[in-house]
C-alpha cells in the first residue's frame, strides 16, 4: 500500500507583493512521497523538511481540505488546481503524478490578486464584488413564511448550480484576460434566477460588473478556460445570462430617487 514517488519540485518563492520572486528547486525535499497523500499534504511534508533544515516553509493558503471552502488554489504545471478535472488542489492526490515527474508550482497570477507571499494571493477583490451587490436585502425577522413563494424545482436547481461556486479564483487564474466573469456571473445568476432576487436584479448586475472593472479584472472574450478550470464545473452559460441581464439593466434601470428626510 505504501507506494512512494520522488518528484522534481520547483516552487515559486516571493517575499511580498513588490518582490520579483523566482522558482526554487526543492527536489531534494520531495522524495519518498506517498501516492495516497493529497497535494497539500505533500507540501506539508516538504515544509516540515524545510523547517528542520532551517529554511522558511512555503506559504500556501488552505483550510477545510475537503474541497468546499475555496481557500486553497495553486497553479500546478500551468493548470489552476492541477491536472484533475473538477478537483480542488486539496482534493488532488499524488497518485495523479508519476515517479520522477517534474512539477512547477505557482500562485494564481492576476493583477487583481496581488501575491502576499509565495503561493498565497490577496483575493479580497472577490469580496468587494459581492459587497457591490451579491446579496438580497433581508433583515432578520422580516421574512415571510418560507413556503409563501413557491419556487419551481427547475429554477431552484438552476440557482443551486450557480450558487455552488466556492470563490477560489481558479477561473481568474485560467483566463488569459484574468477576468473574473465566471465568478461574478455565478453569483449574479444565482440571485437573478430566484424570485426573491428580482427586486434588486438590475441594480445588482450593474453594480457588480462596475466593481469587477474597478478591481482591474479583464473582460471575457469567450475562451472558456474558466469553465475547464472550475472545480465546481460552473458553466460559461452563466456569463451569457449575465451579459443579457447587463444589457437589459443598462437600458432600463432607473435608480430610486434619493430623498433627504422623511415625507412627514
Amino acid at each position: 500500500m505504501a507506494e512512494t514517488i520522488d518528484l522534481k519540485l520547483h516552487v515559486w518563492r516571493q517575499k511580498g507583493p513588490s518582490d520579483p520572486g523566482k522558482f526554487e528547486d526543492y527536489s531534494q525535499y520531495a522524495k519518498g512521497i506517498s501516492t495516497h497523500a493529497s497535494f497539500l499534504e505533500f507540501l506539508d511534508v516538504v515544509n516540515e523538511r524545510l523547517v528542520l533544515a532551517n529554511q522558511e516553509p512555503i506559504v500556501f493558503d488552505h483550510d477545510c481540505r475537503e474541497g468546499i471552502c475555496g481557500m486553497c488554489g495553486i497553479v500546478i504545471n500551468g493548470e489552476p488546481h492541477g491536472p484533475q478535472k473538477a478537483t480542488t488542489t486539496c482534493q488532488l492526490h499524488m497518485r495523479t503524478f508519476r515517479n520522477g515527474e517534474e512539477l512547477w508550482v505557482e500562485p494564481w497570477r492576476a493583477a487583481a490578486f496581488p501575491v502576499i507571499r509565495d503561493l498565497s494571493v490577496d483575493r479580497s477583490a472577490f469580496d468587494r464584488i459581492i459587497q457591490a451587490g451579491g446579496y438580497i436585502t433581508a433583515r432578520a425577522g422580516a421574512a415571510p413564511d418560507a413556503n409563501a413563494i413557491p419556487i419551481p424545482k427547475r429554477l431552484a436547481d438552476e440557482a443551486m448550480d450557480a450558487a455552488t461556486c466556492i470563490g477560489c479564483g481558479a477561473c481568474v487564474a485560467a483566463c488569459p484576460n484574468a477576468s473574473a466573469s465566471l465568478f461574478m456571473a455565478a453569483k449574479i445568476g444565482h440571485l437573478n434566477t430566484l424570485p426573491q432576487g428580482q427586486a434588486e436584479r438590475d441594480k445588482r448586475t450593474l453594480a457588480m460588473v462596475a466593481q469587477h472593472e474597478r478591481e482591474g479584472f479583464g473582460a471575457c472574450s469567450n475562451h472558456y478556460l474558466c469553465e475547464a478550470a472550475c472545480p465546481k464545473e460552473i458553466s460559461v452559460q452563466w456569463i451569457a445570462r449575465m451579459n443579457r441581464d447587463l444589457l437589459k439593466a443598462a437600458m432600463t434601470y432607473k435608480p430610486e430617487p434619493q430623498r433627504a428626510g422623511g415625507d412627514g
Binding site: 497523500a37 499534504e41 523547517v51 481540505r65 469580496d127 446579496y135 421574512a143 455552488t164
Partner: protein, 648 residues
C-alpha cells in the same frame, strides 16, 4: 461561585416571549454609539454581526481566513433542522425540543433547547429570503428529509452542501452591511487575548497574520463565535485552521469552560492513510442505509483481498450484536464498536503505529439487490469523493471507514442570554456549550449557529448594553496595556524557543492528538485518563523547551501561528481529560468503560445531572488540583422525563 442560568421560569412555551418582553432596549439613536466586536464569521458570527449592524450598532468583525466566506460552517453536508412540520408528519416545536434534550442524553438546559426549537422556524424563512437555494419539490414547495434517525422529516437541505449555502447566505448578508459601512471586517486576523477591566469584557487583542502586528481593539461588548475545539485531536474533520485560542484565552481571563469532555465522533469517515495525514474527511452517514459493516473474523485475513474472504469468515459485528438496529445503530455506539474490533486486531487497511484502524462498509449486497445504477443514484457523489481520496473503487472493493472527531458540544459556559460569567462577553454557536448536552443530533449544528446569530444575540446584547452603558476603557487603561504586553511577550517567547528547538509544531500536535484520542476519545477509563494527565504536562514542557519555529514574529509566519494554537490545545486537552475523569458516569458521547451495560452508556443522574464549569486558576493558591476549579450548574428536567436509551 453560584452559576445562574438566568433562564425565565414558568411555562416553557412562553419563556422566550416573556423574556423578550422584559428585555431592556437601546434607543435607536444611541445604538450607533455602541461598538460590538464579533470574532469569527461562520453561521453564528456572520449572521450575528450582520444582524447587530442592521439594528444600528457599530460592529467590528474578525476572521483568520482570507474571507468571511471560508468559515468552517461551510463544510456541513447534511442539512438544517426546523420544526416547520411542512410534511404534516407530526413534527412540532415540542417534538424537536424533546428529541434534542433526549438526544443530548439529559445534559442540556431545557429552556435553551426549547428556544432553539422555537426560533428554528424563523431561520428557514430568513434563509429563503436571503436566497438560499434549498431543495424543492415539483410544486415549488420546500423539500425535507429525515436525518440521523429522526422519526419525522424536518431537515431542509441544499444538495450535500447545506452548510455552504447557509454560510454564503450569511456572508452575503454580512457583505451588504460591510458595503453600507456598518461593519468593519478584518480578515487574516486572529484573536489572541481578551481584555477584561472591572470584571467586564472590554475588547480583544489580535495578531495580524500578514504583518504580525499585535494590537488592541476596544468595544462595549465582545462576541466569540469561533467554533469548536475538535482539532485538539490533531486529526479531525475540522478545517486545518480551526482552533481554540479565542475561547481558551477568554477562559484564562476568567470565562468558565463547560463540559470540555463532551466531544462527538462521527462513525463514517475515511480512515487515516499515513502519518502525513492532515485531516479526516467525513462521508454522509446515509451510506449506512445500504452498506454492511464488517471486519474479518481472523486476524490473518486482515490483509487479504476482502472479496476472497468467505461469508462465514466475515464478522458483521453491528448486525450480530444489535439485530434490531444493525448497521443503523446511533453514531456513538457504531463508532465505539468500530474502535473495539480494531483494538482486538481485526481492523483493515494500512497499519499505522502498529494498528489497522478501519472497518469495511460493503455495498456488494446492495448492488446485487438493487443494481449498480440504483446505488449510484443514491450515493454517486459520495462514491466519487471516496475514490478521489483513496484511489479505490467502492463499487468493486468495500469502502473502508473509521470514526473521527467532528463536533464539540463543550465550550464556554453561557447563561440563557448567551453571556459568559464575564459580563459583556457573549459566546455563540459551537463555541458555547449550551444546547446539545452530551451529544448533538444531526442537522442541529447549523440550526444553533443561525439561531444564535440571527435571532438571539440581537436581543440579548441590547439588553446588556442598555444596563451596562458605554465602556470607559481607553487605549491607555492598565487592562489594555497589560494584556497587550502579555500577548506580545507570549509570542516573543515562542520565537525565542523556536530558534533553538529541534522538533516541528506539527510533530508536537500529532503526539498530543494521539494521546488525547487514545485516552479521551471514543472510550475513556480512569487509568487511561490518569495516564494522559501525567503525560500531557510532560509533553507540554518538552514543547516549551524544544519546539522549532523558523522566521520572526513581525511577519507572516505560519509556524508561529500554529505554535500559538497548539500551546493552547495542550492546556485544553489536559482539562478535557480532567473533566472526563471527574464525570464518573457515561452519558451521550462521554463513554466511560467503567460505566456501561453491554456497550451502552449508564448515566448517574443522581450525581451528574449538572454542567461542569471549570474556572482557570493558573498556578494560584486557589487551585485544588492543577490549574482548575470546578463549579456546577444543576440541571432540572421539568418537561422531558429522564430515561435510559436502549437499542436492544
Amino acid at each position: 461561585m453560584e452559576l445562574r442560568s438566568n433562564a425565565p421560569t414558568g411555562p416553557i412555551e412562553t419563556r422566550w416571549e416573556r423574556h423578550k418582553a422584559d428585555i431592556k432596549l437601546v434607543n435607536p439613536a444611541n445604538k450607533r454609539k455602541y461598538e460590538i466586536i464579533v470574532v469569527g464569521t461562520g453561521l453564528a458570527g456572520g449572521a450575528g454581526a450582520a444582524s447587530l449592524a442592521d439594528l444600528g450598532y457599530k460592529v467590528k468583525a474578525f476572521c483568520y481566513q482570507d474571507s468571511a466566506r471560508r468559515a468552517h460552517s461551510i463544510a456541513a453536508q447534511g442539512g438544517i433542522n426546523a420544526a416547520k412540520n411542512y410534511q404534516g408528519d407530526g413534527d412540532s416545536i415540542y417534538r424537536l425540543f424533546y428529541d434534542t434534550v433526549k438526544g443530548g442524553d439529559f445534559r442540556a438546559r431545557e429552556s435553551n433547547v426549547y428556544r432553539l426549537a422555537q426560533v428554528s422556524v424563523d431561520i428557514i424563512d430568513q434563509c429563503v429570503a436571503l436566497g438560499v437555494p434549498f431543495a424543492r419539490e415539483y410544486g415549488g414547495l420546500l423539500a425535507n428529509r429525515s436525518f440521523g434517525g429522526a422519526q419525522v422529516s424536518r431537515t431542509f437541505y441544499a444538495r450535500g452542501q447545506t452548510g455552504q449555502q447557509l454560510l454564503l447566505g450569511a456572508y452575503s448578508h454580512l457583505s451588504r452591511t460591510i458595503a453600507e459601512g456598518k461593519v468593519e471586517l478584518r480578515t487574516r486576523c486572529e484573536m489572541i487575548d481578551l481584555i477584561v477591566e472591572d470584571n467586564r469584557a472590554r475588547g480583544i487583542v489580535t495578531r495580524d497574520l500578514v504583518t504580525g502586528k499585535i494590537e488592541a481593539h476596544l468595544a462595549d461588548a465582545v462576541v466569540l463565535a469561533t467554533g469548536g475545539y475538535g482539532n485538539v485531536f490533531y486529526l479531525s474533520t475540522n478545517a486545518k485552521g480551526c482552533n481554540a485560542t479565542a475561547i481558551w484565552r477568554a477562559h484564562r481571563r476568567g470565562a468558565f469552560f463547560a463540559n470540555p469532555c463532551f466531544t462527538q465522533i462521527h462513525p463514517t469517515c475515511i480512515p487515516q492513510a499515513g502519518v502525513y495525514q492532515s485531516k479526516l474527511t467525513l462521508m454522509s452517514e446515509s451510506l449506512r442505509n445500504d452498506g454492511r459493516v464488517w471486519v474479518p473474523r481472523k486476524k490473518e485475513d486482515c490483509t487479504r483481498d476482502p472479496a476472497s474472504i468467505p461469508e462465514r469468515d466475515r464478522y458483521y459485528y453491528l448486525e450480530e450484536k444489535y439485530p434490531a438496529f444493525g448497521n443503523l445503530m446511533p453514531r456513538d455506539i457504531a463508532s465505539r464498536q468500530a474502535k473495539f474490533v480494531c483494538d482486538q486486531g481485526l481492523g483493515v487497511g494500512p497499519e499505522i503505529n502498529g494498528v489497522r484502524r478501519g472497518v469495511y462498509l460493503d455495498f456488494a449486497d446492495a448492488i446485487k439487490r438493487d443494481g449498480k445504477q440504483a446505488i449510484a443514484d443514491r450515493y454517486g457523489n459520495l462514491f466519487d469523493m471516496y475514490q478521489r481520496i483513496t484511489g479505490e473503487d467502492p463499487y468493486r472493493v468495500p469502502m473502508r471507514i473509521y470514526p473521527a472527531t467532528h463536533y464539540t458540544m463543550g465550550g464556554l459556559w453561557v447563561d440563557y442570554n448567551l453571556m459568559s460569567n464575564i459580563p459583556g462577553l457573549f459566546v455563540a454557536g459551537e463555541a458555547n456549550f449550551s444546547d446539545h448536552g452530551a451529544n448533538r443530533l444531526g442537522a442541529s449544528a447549523l440550526m444553533q449557529g443561525l439561531a444564535d446569530g440571527f435571532f438571539i444575540l440581537p436581543y440579548v446584547i441590547g439588553n446588556y448594553l442598555a444596563q451596562a452603558g458605554k465602556s470607559k476603557t481607553t487605549e491607555s487603561s492598565a487592562a489594555v496595556t497589560t494584556t497587550l504586553r502579555e500577548a506580545q511577550t507570549r509570542f516573543r517567547k515562542l520565537i525565542e524557543i523556536g530558534q533553538k528547538g529541534s522538533r516541528t509544531v506539527d510533530d508536537f500536535h500529532r503526539k498530543l492528538g494521539t494521546l488525547i484520542w487514545d485516552h479521551c476519545g471514543m472510550a475513556r477509563n480512569p487509568s487511561g485518563l490518569k495516564s494522559a494527565l501525567g503525560q500531557i504536562p510532560e509533553l507540554r514542557e518538552e514543547f516549551y523547551r524544544d519546539v522549532k519555529i523558523t522566521g520572526s514574529g513581525e511577519e507572516l509566519n505560519r509556524e508561529l501561528e500554529k505554535a500559538g494554537r497548539v500551546a493552547d490545545f495542550f492546556e485544553l486537552g489536559e482539562l478535557m481529560c480532567r473533566d472526563a475523569l471527574e464525570r464518573d458516569e457515561s452519558c451521550g458521547c462521554h463513554f466511560r468503560e467503567d460505566h456501561q451495560a453491554d456497550g451502552e452508556c449508564v448515566r448517574d443522574d443522581e450525581h451528574f445531572a449538572h454542567v461542569a464549569a471549570w474556572e482557570w486558576c493558573g498556578q494560584g493558591p486557589e487551585a485544588r488540583d492543577g490549574n482548575h476549579k470546578q463549579h456546577r450548574e444543576a440541571l432540572s428536567f421539568e418537561y422531558v422525563k429522564m430515561a435510559q436509551r436502549s437499542y436492544k
